[in-house]
């Protein structure tokens, strides 16, 4: 029940795009066709599902106040929390690199569809945001963190695929010239966000 709760909340209520505007750069740049945006969406979900649990473990056993107590009780007073930003981004950059190499080596087909997006993801705010929210919300175990990562990824995927589908249609509609492109995309995203706000009242 708790897991469904976290999943639903992270997909719909705390949607990375509509509620927190994370990953807007790639969201705006790569949402011209449904096919490429679906690829990027899957890649983001994939990377989130790997980096969030890894960062969860690092945060729990290395960074949190008193987290080093398992090495020796004398270290219980150490709080490395101030290093979390720098560690998280390093872990994300490293994992993205490793994932890219592994996928290229073992699954060329997957690499052909996802590979071009992977370098983009290291600096995707949604991925970094996933780790930071995981830390801030203090999930009680790794399974919750994983479910949260999956939900955030799916939420991001839904958002980018939906906007790409809309933009494909938009190409044939009459929009004031000054509003074409980025401008109208922002406004549509805002309207979609309003629709997603309906999920806020969801009772669980």
């Amino acid at each position: 029940m708790e897991y469904i709760n976290i999943l639903v909340k992270s997909i719909f209520v705390d949607n990375m795009i509509f509620a927190f505007f994370l990953g807007m750069c790639s969201y705006l740049a790569v949402s011209k066709t449904v096919k490429t945006s679906a690829g990027l969406g899957i890649a983001v979900t994939f990377v989130l599902c790997i980096t969030v649990p890894v960062n969860y473990l690092i945060n729990k056993y290395l960074l949190k106040a008193g987290a080093l107590a398992w090495i020796s009780p004398s270290l219980a007073g150490v709080d490395l929390g101030f290093l979390s930003f720098i560690v998280f981004i390093a872990v994300i950059a490293a994992i993205v690199q490793i994932v890219e190499m592994v996928v290229e080596r073992y699954s060329p087909a997957l690499y052909n569809s996802l590979g071009i997006f992977l370098p983009l993801i290291a600096v995707n705010c949604a991925v970094m945001g996933g780790s930071l929210f995981m830390q801030e919300r203090a999930y009680s175990n790794i399974a919750q963190a994983e479910v949260f990562a999956l939900g955030s990824g799916i939420g991001w995927f839904l958002a980018i695929v939906a906007i790409a589908a809309l933009r494909e249609k938009l190409r044939y509609s009459h929009i004031p010239p000054a509003l074409k492109g980025v401008g109208i995309t922002f406004i549509i995203t805002g309207l979609m966000g309003m629709a997603f706000m309906a999920f806020m009242g969801i009772k669980l």
């Binding site: 909340k9 209520v13 101030f82 801030e136 203090a138 806020m200 009242g201 669980l204």
Partner: protein, 211 residues
């Protein structure tokens, strides 16, 4: 473009990381005391608010040290920390709401009746469960008690259409069922350990009244 050898790259990244680590550690050491002070200040302001003392960030420190002291209501083996303000006790609460941690302070008068409360949360739904941090919600607790007439421990619960005459029921937040349940659990878990101590004081008062 210049060519760089592998050794140079390794040394370079090592030096860069060392520099970053030193800068950050120094900054952390310099600023940590102030940050902790800020966090304590926030806690003090919540406690003062629960005990009905108006405080600002400026005078909170002074008011706190003037009027509030820490006491142990349990034994040495099982300490039950609380705050004391005159003849009132303030007990810290913490638990889980729907989406994350919730916490608060309850202020009890000498008869262990609630005379003040304050709640806060990290990420409850704004407008629904998030309303536990409002003063309106905190006021619902005033006059409640977790002891009945015979000094038995009865936890305070949140429920819909609560009987306002009951000392153990508080109106739940509309639309925030899970958060309300979280508050109920928090009240039970955090107050139950104090029940023996509460019963002792109340019984002692009853006997002294009879005499």
């Amino acid at each position: 473009m210049k060519k760089f050898s592998n050794i140079y790259i390794l040394l370079y990244s090592g030096a860069l990381l060392a520099a970053a680590a030193i800068v950050l550690s120094v900054a952390n050491m310099l600023l940590a005391p102030r940050q902790q002070h800020n966090e304590q200040l926030e806690q003090k302001m919540l406690i003062l608010k629960a005990s009905g003392i108006e405080a600002t960030a400026r005078n909170a420190d002074r008011l706190f040290s003037d009027s509030i002291s820490t006491v142990n209501l349990g034994s040495d083996e099982e300490p039950l920390p609380a705050y004391r303000c005159g003849d009132r006790h303030i007990i810290e609460l913490h638990g889980n709401g729907l989406w994350g941690p919730i916490w608060g302070y309850l202020c009890f008068d000498a008869q262990w009746t609630v005379c003040g409360a304050v709640f806060d949360h990290k990420g409850e739904t704004p407008g629904l469960g998030g309303n536990i941090s409002t003063e309106e919600f905190a006021r619902r607790f005033v006059g409640k008690s977790c002891l009945d007439a015979t000094a038995q421990f009865i936890p305070i619960i949140l429920k819909k259409n609560a009987n306002n005459n009951s000392k153990h029921e508080v109106d739940a937040i509309s639309g925030g069922t899970m958060t309300s349940n979280g508050v109920t659990n928090m009240l039970h878990d955090c107050l139950a350990p104090y029940s023996t101590c509460m019963q002792q004081t109340v019984r002692a008062q009853v006997t002294s009244d009879e005499q």
